[in-house]
Symmetry: C2
Subunit: 188 residues, 2 copies
Amino acid sequence: MEVAELGDANGARTAETLLRVVPIGFCLAALVLMIKNSEKNDFGEVSYSNIGGFKYLVYANGLCAAYSLLSAFFTARPGSSPSVRRRAWTFFFFDQVLTYVILAAGTVGAEILYLAYHGDAKVTWSQACDSFGGVCHKATASVGITFGSVACYAALSLFSSYRLFSTFDPPAASDAGAGGIEVAAFPR
Amino acid sequence: MEVAELGDANGARTAETLLRVVPIGFCLAALVLMIKNSEKNDFGEVSYSNIGGFKYLVYANGLCAAYSLLSAFFTARPGSSPSVRRRAWTFFFFDQVLTYVILAAGTVGAEILYLAYHGDAKVTWSQACDSFGGVCHKATASVGITFGSVACYAALSLFSSYRLFSTFDPPAASDAGAGGIEVAAFPR
């Protein structure tokens, strides 16, 4: 089994490990950019911690970085888990959840930036970026990087669902249709 | 093949069709609630169309309702697609995309509501719900219903990835590990 794992498996594992390592960098970059994001001027002082959505973005990126690190470690170490299928289920579940968490963080951040840049006269929310341009620029960078993590996690959740479900039998409906795949390739 | 499809397959197809039909109701309810959401009083007039995030929520719910209707139709009709695998790929792809779209709509709506209820003194964004309570209540209901659609779509995207990937061979790494599943169940 050790020998077999050194074959094609290594390529897939390297790709997966990379997809798990890259978000560590993205998440930490987005997190640090946002944490260091504050500005004090004549209009007052604003930092990320004054804005609920940006705080969520920081928490989500921290969680994502921690999970990425942990999961990259377990992916890179072969045969570390007692059961392959239990491990596939665990990765699958947390990859899905983290994808939703980090996507929510990105969209919430983007929405706040939209409001900060454009304001909303009807709701009497003023543009904030005229007064706090520096905060807005850094926040934009942080949100952009967060969407980089979203892309990685979307790919990861596909990969882990492929890894999990490919060990399953097709459902009855697809079973009946499974012959249809070949048939359909050569239609009458 | 028709006979085989009348067996277990019918249960799975019914469940999937239900999961596709329910969001039609959710999405239309959220959409109508939001579109009819406007209030005019001494403070001014506010409707959903004044708020970018709520407009996106309406568009996303419209798109989601249309796709749900279309996909429910094709799921309920047996053997309507020329190729089973191509159909599985199509459902899989659009289910994933719609899940992200509707999740983004829900979180953006929730973030705006958070700001509307609590305001943000530092950014000089005032609470809006003191003045426009009716708009906030309806918007809360609409966002809540949207999260109902999110739950359905999260389940659907799992189901369609299972349907697609279960027809695939496991990856090389899991192949080597596939024997390991049984082995792991009976460890030395």
